[in-house]
């Protein structure tokens, strides 16, 4: 546990499993989301008109019927944009709208926006546009783009050793390919923004966004005003999962433009189907590989090509495909590897961040290979996993991108989980079950996760915070991170509570605002508490230092005689309440306000050489899943899951366990029921919750044991030696997919490895069962 003084009187210090700061408001309906915000009088509702072809030129865009529709007040097309017309976050390629004569690159691309007096009138009006296209051929599938060498960004290669030679020399070789489906974020709260025009070209923006700073910058750019005219305010999101990292921007920009044009407040909120059509998802991937391995099961060399389906523009795809490549080793040492990552262009919505950010796709690719090696050698996949782990011996500790694995947590963690989950006993029971059951088969798999923590884009690894202490001792906290349910506000408040040794309810953490903490990074890459927690601690320590120095001077004591504890401050023999002390400090004219700042040390990555230390540290974990499949229908059920996750010294074990459980189920959905289907015309067919199935409550395994690895502080000097937890556990769900393959493999006595693309829907499972039966 993090070091708190262990005094029970102080509530909510770091290390305690305190409740989410908004829990009581969530349950009572009092928590305010963007669309709940009381809007100013005369607010207008914006909506968008979307393209109905995947690729083509707009030959006619006639909005006269839209203009004439009931309730319509204003219309916006690309010509009306005074500033930038492209909102690509890193590279250009994301036009805000497409005009007559312009090129459409996905089905559902924004053509225009309309503002009307109600949400329904705006939506209805937006459907009245008369649009004609010269349709062009659309690449909808990755292979189509790949065949054409159509990429949104240049390919990148990471190498170590001589993979060709290693493959040649290996005892065995296997090759294969695999499709990995994408995933819709399906934040329960859809994209929403409310823009209120202000004087001096100002704009106050409430937006459900993981990236208020980027939203602020882009809004300023489209409005053609300096950034300081725009303020973004973000209290909480109803889920983000990466889907609001860059894809919240467009809606906020459109609403801001309409607000400027009309001089009225404008709200925009996408209906679910349009949200699903017009915003990006997790990248689908197509992976090809050849692996060489020896009789002992160890990988000798790997040649792997990872092709990410990026959609029509770069968005964040460079970093996402990089992260897939960085995780194509997962927890395994690759003595020789040649890893190529392609960023394939398709005529679909540009894909974007989603919890794991490419990592899951890289990881499932290597786990597929490990299973295949195991079957080829007739061994339990767990044995193959174990013998390939990174370790200190034999120099098996450097990744294919040159980072040394310094803390070897996985071998012991896996041993521990193998025991606590009764893996070996259950393995025998399941084999016996499968011998006597013809229709139902059970599968078991243990898979590890080693996930690199830090933004791989180095400059993003910085954060700021702002703390004020008022004269009644109440503390106001702001930081650059956003709250999307992950408990960031709670954790950062605990960190500040810990510094001052005061109850957590002394601290009020208010909306993330660009005018309080500027130039913030997106809340992403699991970095929220690592970065913002450190920045907030820095601010707290600055104020605390001033308070201490004041006490030293004022009371004539030594520094170490000033102690913050139990909501009090003792100064020599004197003890006063924290609030009294704050008042005293104020009366003596010492500033009780400070900003804090942090940047992650040690990290670097050189794209030229494809070597470096992109990650400050790794977060580790492992899961054992047991599944049941019906070989007549492909229906399946996860029966039991055991997880052990390394979160370092947890700042809040209750929140961390919540993150682990939630991420696991989300990952399980990605690999089982969540299937994105596009028509040949490039239209997303699974564009609502009726067609796209995220896990429901009955999918939660009846037995679901989650443990945080005890006594395992982060060796790096992170905040209280904790580790990030947001993304890593999502990939624990690979154990479910692997267990399904294990069950299928049992049909032929585990002699063959089934090919099973993700997601493993009942249909794919049935097909794989039949293929297995025919072998």
């Amino acid at each position: 546990m993090a070091k708190s003084s262990g005094v029970a009187q102080v509530n909510g210090l770091a290390g305690q499993g305190v409740k989410h700061e908004s829990a009581h408001k969530h349950v009572s309906g009092e928590a305010v989301y963007v669309d709940d915000q009381l809007a100013p009088a005369n607010v207008l509702y914006a909506y968008v008109g979307l393209s109905t072809v995947a690729h083509g030129r707009v030959t006619r865009l006639d909005l006269s019927r839209v203009k004439a529709a009931e309730g319509v007040v204003e219309i916006l097309t690309l010509d009306d944009v005074p500033g930038h017309k492209d909102i690509g976050p890193v590279f250009p390629g994301d036009p805000l709208m497409v005009n007559e004569g312009g090129e459409i690159e996905f089905y559902g691309q924004v053509l225009f926006a309309v503002a009307a007096t109600s949400q329904r009138l705006a939506r209805s009006a937006a459907r009245l546009a008369e649009v004609e296209y010269d349709t062009l051929e659309a690449d909808v599938r990755i292979e189509q783009g790949l065949d054409r060498n159509s990429f949104v960004r240049p390919s990148h290669t990471q190498k170590c050793g001589d993979a060709t030679q290693a493959l040649r020399d290996a005892d065995h070789r296997l090759q294969g390919e695999m499709h990995i489906g994408g995933q819709e974020q399906m934040y329960l709260e859809g994209q929403a923004s409310l823009c209120i025009p202000a004087e001096d070209d100002g704009m106050l923006v409430y937006t459900s966004s993981q990236n208020p700073t980027e939203g602020q910058k882009l809004i300023a750019e489209v409005l053609n005003v300096p950034i300081n005219r725009v303020t973004v305010d973000m209290r909480r999101m109803g889920g983000g999962f990466g889907g609001k990292e860059t894809h919240a921007n467009q809606w906020a920009c459109l609403a801001a433009l309409l607000a400027r044009k009309t001089g009225r407040a404008v709200k925009i909120r996408l209906a679910r189907a349009d949200d699903m059509l017009a915003t990006g998802k997790r990248h689908h991937f197509f992976t090809r590989y050849e692996v060489g391995f020896n009789d002992d099961g160890r990988i000798a060399g790997l040649d792997m090509e990872l092709s990410g389906g990026c959609g029509m523009s770069p968005d964040l795809s460079d970093a996402i495909v990089d992260r897939a490549m960085f995780h194509s080793d997962n927890a395994y040492f690759l003595p020789a590897a040649h890893i190529v990552g392609h960023r394939v262009k398709t005529h679909t919505v540009t894909n974007t961040a989603f919890r794991g950010f490419g990592g899951p796709q890289g990881m499932v690719s290597i786990e597929n290979i490990i299973d295949n090696i195991a079957r080829a050698l007739g061994r339990d996949p767990l044995e193959i996993r174990k013998c390939n782990f990174y370790g200190d011996d034999d120099n098996r500790n450097v990744t294919h991108y040159g980072q040394k694995v310094e803390q070897h947590i996985i071998p012991d963690l896996v041993d521990r989980l193998e025991k606590t989950s009764d893996y070996q006993l259950r393995r025998r029971q399941i084999t016996a079950f499968n011998k006597i059951n013809t229709v139902f088969k059970k599968g078991l798999a243990l898979t590890p996760v080693k996930f690199g923590i830090s933004f791989t884009v180095t400059h993003l690894n910085q954060a700021g915070a702002l703390i004020h202490i008022y004269t009644d001792g109440s503390i106001h906290l702001n930081h650059g991170g956003t709250e999307m349910g992950q408990g960031l506000f709670t954790k950062v408040a605990q960190i500040v509570a810990n510094e001052f040794q005061v109850d957590i309810d002394t601290i009020n953490c208010t909306a993330t605002r660009t005018d309080k903490v500027p130039n913030a990074s997106p809340t992403a890459a699991s970095s929220g508490s690592d970065l913002n927690g450190m920045a907030a601690r820095d601010a707290a320590q600055k104020i605390k230092r001033r308070m201490v120095m004041f006490a030293v001077e004022h009371f004539g004591v030594r520094e170490d005689e000033v102690i913050f504890a139990d909501n009090q401050v003792s100064i020599g023999d004197e003890v006063m309440r924290f609030s009294e002390f704050a008042q005293l400090v104020y009366m003596n004219r010492v500033s009780l306000s400070a900003t804090g700042y942090y940047r992650t040390p040690k990290i670097h990555y050189d794209r030229e050489t494809a070597k470096g230390r992109p990650f400050y540290y790794y977060a580790n974990g492992a899961a054992v899943s047991e599944v049941l499949i019906d070989t007549l229908t492909g229906e399946n059920k996860v029966l039991r899951v055991d997880i052990c996750q390394d979160v370092g010294d947890s700042i809040n074990p209750a929140i961390d366990i919540g993150q682990v459980e939630g991420a696991f189920i989300q990952g399980m959905g990605w690999l089982t029921t969540e299937e994105l289907v596009w028509g040949e015309d490039g239209r997303l067919q699974t564009m609502n919750m009726a067609g796209y199935k995220i896990p429901a409550i009955g999918d939660t395994p009846p037995e679901f044991n989650v443990e945080l690895l005890p006594d395992s502080p982060n060796l790096e000097a992170t905040i209280f030696h904790s580790k990030a937890v947001g993304e890593p556990p999502l990939m624990l769900a690979i154990s479910v997919w692997s267990a399904i393959r294990d069950a299928i493999s049992s049909i032929k006595d585990y002699r063959y490895s089934p090919s099973l693309d993700a997601p493993a829907t009942p249909e794919r499972i049935l097909a794989a069962c039949e293929e297995m039966q025919d072998r």
């Binding site: 309906g29 229709v439 007549l632 399946n636 459980e661 409550i697 009942p762 097909a767």
Partner: protein, 486 residues
């Protein structure tokens, strides 16, 4: 229908509200959020799929209130007439959280919190209807509430923990007065009506009045639970001029048992019909509990499931296999037809203008007849079937004496598998007959490929369902469905 009838009256918690000038196409969710600025109830999909908009509706039942969870996003405001509406805002008293809310807080049941009000309301209804919690029924009650953050485990725990406080709450204390107020509202008007924005909603309370209104407005849209029809408004932005609700019509709400049949009024919901149907055909238990979600089953009707003539409805194949029939009524005239004759072509039915389904007659079970119904979908809960097969079978001395097989999801209408049946009838019930009949199924159906499943899968899995039937009737040694495990 005098002018004084043109009002919808309901209780918002304890307070009577009267609606006169609200567009009858307005949903309860939009009414709450946009008209009353009661924004605790959330919109996640506006299509009944996520449960974020769940509210609880109370209806008098003898001297008690029966509380049920519904999706406010697909419920027209007019349907509130004579009911009590409870939203998440009504649970907390002063600073005191309701036991359901407190349990959610204690168990860390919320992360982003957006799904939470909906969960709280579903759990509230559950707690009102069950004296103690049980994992399976909790899951049944919450299957229509999606959470993207928590993975559900803490929510299941909260549903257990919410029973630690006494069941009595502010609603039980007010129950008798609410019953009285609601009964008074219900007695005031034979037909409740809402007219505004050029649109009208009628909710008659007897079948003769219903028949009259439909004669008078042949273009009217019948609405029962609305779980299908209202999506036209929220998803396709249609404006429906005349809505005629069956949900108050007393005769259509009856579940009656005759010597040979169960007779279901067309406005009987799944939950209301469940007991009677399962008593006859225990195997329907699984299908009904997997049809839609609890909210959908609370609102949705079997009449609506037949009425919408969807090729993917789950009850039509069941009703066809069971040899059920429909009583159709137009004005004073009634006729009876077999369910399978109701479906003519894609979304085209035997219904004439102004005609409606009055009753569904389901023959009772016979001891010598076996019945099974199987639903196949990507997700086990709350998902539309890729294929749904229903089988009724009588064996005599090892031979197939009678067989009825019907499928949903396999053709443009719910349909009987005639060739397959022919291959079975009179044959010995054995592996080779069944395998042969499975092949025959290819003559019965050329299913479509869509995002739910490919044509190949639909056909293969439907064939295999027949094989599952065979195995299930063979022995009870192997549990034959994944839903039986865990």
């Amino acid at each position: 229908m005098g002018f004084e009838n043109r009002v919808i009256k309901f209780l918002l918690n304890q307070t009577e509200y009267q609606l006169r000038d609200i567009d009858p196409n307005t949903t309860v969710l939009d009414y709450l959020r946009e008209h009353l600025h009661f924004v605790g109830t959330k919109e996640g999909c506006a299509s009944g799929d996520c449960g974020a908009c769940t509210v609880v509706v109370g209806e008098p039942c003898d001297d008690k209130i029966y509380y049920k969870s519904i999706n406010s996003c697909i419920t027209p405001v007019g349907s509130l007439h004579g009911k009590q509406l409870i939203t998440v805002e009504h649970l907390k008293q002063g600073k005191q959280l309701h036991p359901v809310q407190q349990a959610m807080v204690n168990c860390h049941g919320s992360q982003c919190g957006f799904c939470t009000p909906g969960f709280v309301m579903s759990m509230f209804a559950y707690r009102k209807n069950n004296v103690r919690p049980e994992r399976q029924s909790v899951i049944e009650a919450l299957g229509g509430n999606l959470c993207r953050c928590t993975g559900y485990k803490p929510i299941i725990e909260a549903a257990m923990q919410m029973y630690r406080s006494p069941l009595e709450d502010q609603f039980s204390l007010a129950e008798s007065s609410v019953v009285e107020k609601l009964k008074a509202i219900r007695q005031q008007q034979a037909t409740a009506e809402l007219s505004a924005a050029g649109k009208t909603y009628f909710a008659p309370d007897n079948v003769a009045a219903l028949a009259d209104i439909l004669l008078k407005y042949p273009q009217a849209k019948l609405v029962a639970g609305g779980t299908d029809l209202i999506l036209d408004i929220t998803q396709f932005l249609k404006e429906i001029e005349v809505l005629v609700s069956t949900s108050r019509v007393e005769e259509l709400k009856l579940v009656e048992e005759t010597e040979s049949a169960i007779e279901l009024g067309a406005a009987v919901t799944y939950i209301e019909a469940r007991q009677a149907l399962i008593a006859q055909y225990p195997d329907l238990h699984e299908l009904i509990d997997r049809l839609g979600s609890r909210q959908i089953r609370n609102q949705g009707t079997i009449g609506g499931n037949v009425g919408n003539a969807s090729p993917i409805g789950d009850m039509p194949p069941v009703l066809i296999a069971l040899g059920a029939s429909l009583v159709l009524r137009r004005g004073d005239e009634s006729r009876q037809i077999p369910v399978e004759d109701y479906f003519i072509a894609y979304k085209k039915t035997a219904l004439q203008d102004s005609e409606f389904i009055e009753r569904i007659i389901v023959p009772k079970a016979k001891p010598e007849v076996q019945f099974r119904a199987y639903k196949i979908s990507k997700r086990l809960e709350d998902d539309i079937s890729a294929s749904c097969g229903a089988f009724r079978l009588q064996l005599d001395d090892g031979l197939v004496k009678s067989i009825d097989i019907a499928f949903g999801g396999m053709a443009e209408i719910p349909k009987r598998a005639t060739h397959c049946e022919q291959a079975l009838i009179g044959q010995p019930w054995n592996d080779s007959t069944v395998r042969n009949a499975m092949i025959e199924l290819e003559k019965d159906f050329t299913p479509l490929s869509d995002f739910r499943a490919s044509a190949d899968y639909r056909l293969k899995v439907s064939q295999n369902l027949l094989y599952r039937l065979y195995l299930e009737l063979q022995s009870s040694a192997e549990q034959m469905r994944v839903t039986h495990y865990g």
